[in-house]
Symmetry: C2
Subunit: 463 residues, 2 copies
């Protein structure tokens, strides 16, 4: 297994070049304008899996974007690892804030990434992290080091709710049968502080529309006399948090798991500098729910954030209009036990109940996803931990992440297996933001660590 | 003077065709992309004034858009009427809500306009109303009916604050010397209920920017832990009205004139149907400051409305981002005695004072304007009243309008003369909105009424 280092050294330029080719494909799932790019990207992933050594590769049609499936079964009696990842990416806008073209990758050195980082939409989330698994497979197959069976399921709708994947998983239990699911779509604490994600927040995402009059109105003639949908929407949004920054939706917190003092003390041991955090974001202070630390607010507590808002005149200069409609996209991050559909319903009921006379409101649910917590005493978690210890020289810290991979809870429900969230990105990699990047160190370290996971996992299961 | 009816009958098709040509020019002053169209429109207005009989016409350069000046001095000893209007128009967006191209006028019949209305941006505000004066002059000159001197001052920045006009007026007292200013840039109550505007609201218009972190953030990783500029902006906007819909900015109401019970009772006599109002706007209820009627809220009370808001992801689908910045355009309609600069300053101080930790805010003032009230016992008002009575068959009702023509207060200050606001538009004409239109009846009735104003005015002054 030590040959992995030599193999990476010999092939790293090609590994980077192949990833860059994949990153040039604008596989934005949120915007139908990119649907052809989605198909081309799926084809590219299929070809990469075949080249890396999968015996069987296929593009699986779904009601939405296709899923790329690949497998290498060396012995049906051996355990099977299912690798999950996604080839779709977030929209790149606001484009004007990118320092380079989001789909024309460049490598630049940064303070966090002295070996350079690849700047492109999807570099970290998730093409770069998904492709580490393809290259790790290549190594294991070429060098005869694959100790168990492997299946790949790479989807194209993760950034828009994985609806087709849910359908696919429900209809393919036999095909997807596995002993553990391995996912790299999260982060780690720092390049010298490996960590494994043991908890994820769930998600409820809605779009709201507030309608006043049947047409845009002149604010001089009507101002003060009719409901202004923007003012009303602002007021409705504002009323969703109280003065302690608690969310005011009735029953919102009913099922929220309250961690014990001991668990919170344990969490507080993870390295975290509030000063460095504020400096990195250029903010004079943090802002959040009373009674919780920044780390807790971003992991074990649910949230309600407006992700987008628009209405009225937004062009140059001044236009004195009272618009007919105002809109917002609002998401709630949920903690384990909070059911996304139930929360979406609570939101909808509350939003409708607080709408004043003079406006009509609509709530359109987008995708949701269940939160997830994984135990750390399993064979698979221990294998991942040992793999990190092997390549980083220190044991990884188990951490709860604030992000969501809604599909993880579904995997457990449908396929009966646990997921290991072995991510190599950094919080500062700007996923979902302009100038997303992924460290060359992180990419290669992932390729190095993954085969060790297979090694320790297969070894433990054999015992 | 009775020949005006015959003259209109003979020339009305040409009057309409000429206006349509003018409406085809997209003279949007808020957007620099239309700066060439602004210049072409000014040239067209100049040519129209010359053709109508002005002895002297010129394009007057200013620091911004040019002002078209024209005059016909028949005898320096006679009184002089200064006609003010504007050739610039509001932006046409949202374009998708227009039923026809905003700059390709069509004539359609409507319930309010059984004789047809011209649909185009600027048809009512203010090209159509301004052009009535040009055609009225044509009649008076061609038929030898002009009883006094006339000057035209047609500007190109009314929709963006009239900055250049202020400069022009201050620097041209002699050129603009007049006895009364006549303006058609307001409305009347209904086609069978003429009215003259005796009060206008002032305006303070600002753009605000709320900045959180130095980049867009992933709402999973940072949600709940840092200030979200959209949520913060919503909260700040919401806090600008209390539960009685009073504006909460300290000292905002200090100089607001409180009308007596008698004055309010007098106002209440103007025909107004709340049911018809709600039906026309398709709203289940009106919404506004406690203790005032709809008519009062829209005329004698100041307001604070958000005219535009934007931030975060506003495209298709879902993007889980906490944006770095959120923006809003906010305007306040002011009543007489409220000083726009003072109010803008009060807004700015308050907005900055309520910004929470974790964000930075900026307030950028756009244009403002003073409110105005005109007395009804002047010779000029009485002449306008008699002119309406002549052509409509009934005396016009004096009304306070909620709109703003900021320049009117300046005219009085700089030129020492009162303005007569003789408007022929209807509230339902959708000025500043998609599908703006102007009734053919209203256009021709304006052309018919204006010469009678000159007639009665010159007659009264002579006495």
């Amino acid at each position: 297994m030590d040959s992995i280092k030599t193999y990476i050294e010999a092939h790293k330029d090609r590994f980077i070049a192949e990833l860059i080719d994949l990153l040039k494909m604008p596989s934005v799932s949120a915007d139908p304008a990119f649907s052809q790019d989605i198909l081309h990207t799926a084809e590219a992933v299929k070809a990469a899996l075949a080249a890396a050594g999968c015996d069987k590769v296929e593009i699986c049609e779904t009601p939405g974007n296709p899923i790329v499936y690949g497998e290498k079964i060396i012995d049906p009696k051996l355990p099977t690892v299912l690798v999950y990842g996604h080839y779709d990416v977030q929209p790149a806008d606001p484009l004007e804030l990118w320092e380079s073209d989001p789909f024309d990758p460049v490598i630049k050195k940064t303070e966090e990434h002295p070996q350079g980082a690849i700047y492109a939409r999807g570099s970290c989330d998730d093409k770069g992290q998904m492709y580490m698994h393809v290259k790790a497979l290549e190594y294991m197959v070429k060098e005869g080091k694959l100790p168990c069976n492997v299946k790949f399921m790479i989807e194209g709708e993760e950034e828009v709710g994985s609806e087709s994947l849910k359908w696919f998983v429900k209809n393919n239990h036999a095909k997807l049968k596995n002993d553990v699911i391995l996912i790299s779509d999260t982060g780690m604490l720092a390049n010298d502080t490996p960590s494994i994600t043991t908890g994820l927040r769930g998600l409820s995402y809605v779009e709201v529309e507030v309608t006043g009059a049947n047409r845009d109105l002149h604010s001089g003639l009507y101002g003060g006399a009719v409901a202004n949908p923007i003012n009303v929407l602002a007021k409705m949004i504002a009323s969703m948090h109280d003065e302690h920054k608690h969310i005011t939706i009735p029953h919102f917190y009913d099922k929220v798991e309250e961690l014990s003092r001991e668990e919170r003390d344990e969490m507080a041991k993870a390295p975290f500098s509030l000063e460095a955090y504020k400096k990195a974001l250029d903010i004079d202070d943090v802002y959040g729910e009373d009674g919780y630390t920044t780390t807790e607010r971003a992991s074990i507590r649910p949230t309600l954030d407006v992700n987008g808002i628009w209405g009225g005149y937004t062009g140059e200069g001044a236009k004195t209009v009272i618009p007919s409609k105002a809109f917002a996209k609002i998401s709630m991050r949920l903690v384990p036990n909070q059911d996304p559909e139930e929360i979406t319903k609570l939101f909808q009921d509350y939003f409708e109940s607080i709408a004043p006379e003079g406006v009509r409101v609509k709530v359109k649910p987008h995708h949701g996803g269940q939160g997830y917590v994984t135990p750390i005493d399993t064979v698979a978690y221990q294998a991942a931990s040992k793999a990190c210890e092997q390549t980083f020289g220190k044991a990884p810290i188990p951490v709860r992440s604030g992000g969501s991979i809604p599909i993880v809870a579904l995997f457990e429900e449908e396929l009966g297996s646990k997921s290991i969230l072995l991510g190599f990105g950094l919080d500062s990699d700007a996923i979902h933001s302009p100038n997303e990047h992924y460290g060359v160190f992180n990419y290669l370290k992932g390729i190095e660590t993954i085969p060790w996971f297979y090694h320790y996992y297969a070894e433990s299961v054999k015992k």
